[in-house]
């Protein structure tokens, strides 16, 4: 499958969207994990040069974003009213 080159802007946009979505998780641990994992993954892939590797990482990130968006909603539906001591 031929894939168009992914622009820098698109990647930064995905990065920002993932971090924004992470912020929406009401669960302390999931929120922190999503943020941390996003940052670490983008750092790890920062020096990719091969365009097919870049587009693979990009489309993986896209699907992670979809999952995170759905799950942030699911988690919010079942949020416990008592917060973690880490947020209290």
């Amino acid at each position: 499958m031929a894939s168009a080159a992914i622009s820098r802007g698109e990647i930064l946009h995905l990065y920002r969207s993932l971090l924004r979505t992470a912020r929406q998780f009401c669960d302390y641990n999931i929120r922190e994990y999503t943020k941390r994992r996003t940052i670490d993954a983008f750092r790890q892939n920062q020096n990719l040069t091969d365009s097919s590797a870049i587009s693979a990482a990009y489309s993986d990130g896209k699907s992670q974003l979809d999952v995170a968006k759905r799950q942030a909603i699911v988690y919010s539906l079942y949020a416990p009213t008592i917060k973690s001591v880490m947020e209290a």
Partner: protein, 409 residues
Amino acid sequence: MATSKLLVSTLRKSLNSPSPSSSFRRFSTAAAEAVAPASEPEDSLNIKGVKISARPLYLDMQSASPVDPRVLDAMLPYYLARYGNPHSRTHLYGWESDQAVETARSQVADLIGASPKEIVFTSGATESNNISVKGVMKFYKEKKKHVVTTQTEHKCVLDSCRHLQQEGFDVTYLPVGNDGIVDLEKLKGSIRRDTGLVSELNVSFHTDAAQALGKIPIDVDKWNAAKDKGGAPNEWGGQERGIRSGTVPTPLVVGMGAACELAKKEMDYDDKRIRALQERLLNGVRAKLDGVVVNGSVERRYAGNLNLSFAYVEGESLLMGLKDVAVSSGSACTSASLEPSYVLRALGVDEDMAHISIRFGIGRFTTEEEIDRATELTVQQVEKLREMSPLYEMAKEGIDIKQIQWAQH
């Protein structure tokens, strides 16, 4: 009719009113639970007679761990529209469930380096161990008569082995060292021409291979020595190849598959991080306290599991004091560097109690801040308990506790 009206108005009230009065809550609990299982009372709750105003930070990952949202995301469709029975052969519902189960089978196989044909979904570790220990040996009973296991193996494995012994099989129970690890030379030495199965606990103490799965790399060829020595069955044949009856629960199996795929992808990342967190916890505690004993091998352990004892501190009291940290008790097996048990016995402390340790279970979602908080709270609590301990005072004054003559109770 009247009931449903009541239910609706109750629900509406509970949605609207930010702080339902206690009488109202008592009245509505059942209905509210049936409709909205997620709802809990306001800013504190009473459970088992304890008033809790914040959820403790969770460091008990070996007891249970949260489902990863990515796994839940894979499972949910199979609770919603795709509810077919994977064994139904006559319609879309069955086909899509069947396909999902087969995908999961490949995902599990891929993680452990097996063939999908070798993966049998069961209800849990006990059933699995039963099937593998009894099943494998009965399958090979013409040629293979010998099973190797360890003395610290999970009870269900030992039960199966005992059962096999009664049927005339030979079983070797390997001893383990103080650190809970099997001497590989002894293991090699115990394997015979007719050894059909080597069953060995992977994550030390309290845990089993189901827990090791996805946390440390396992290759079935190495893990299950039966493959090298006797050759494990390649063909089972049937629905779950006839090994077990009962419908395979598609959502759970899909979740298992998704978790395995994720584990493979995340293993290096998780392992590095969990290791770092474990070191942070251990170093943090040791920087502030003396007499910290790690139970089990420090170097060769699964990093998510840190089992600690604190000299002069009764594990049970410490557990009770750590209200904001959810941990379990473990067993302290190296009593050497703790006070001798006869001392504790003389003090009237029950032997079992004297050997309770704290088991910190770290996982994928544990944060550095949680580790730091847990360290701080543990140090605080141990210091508090030691202040009350006459033994600790004596030890600090240089009295050799082992030389004391204790009056018998």
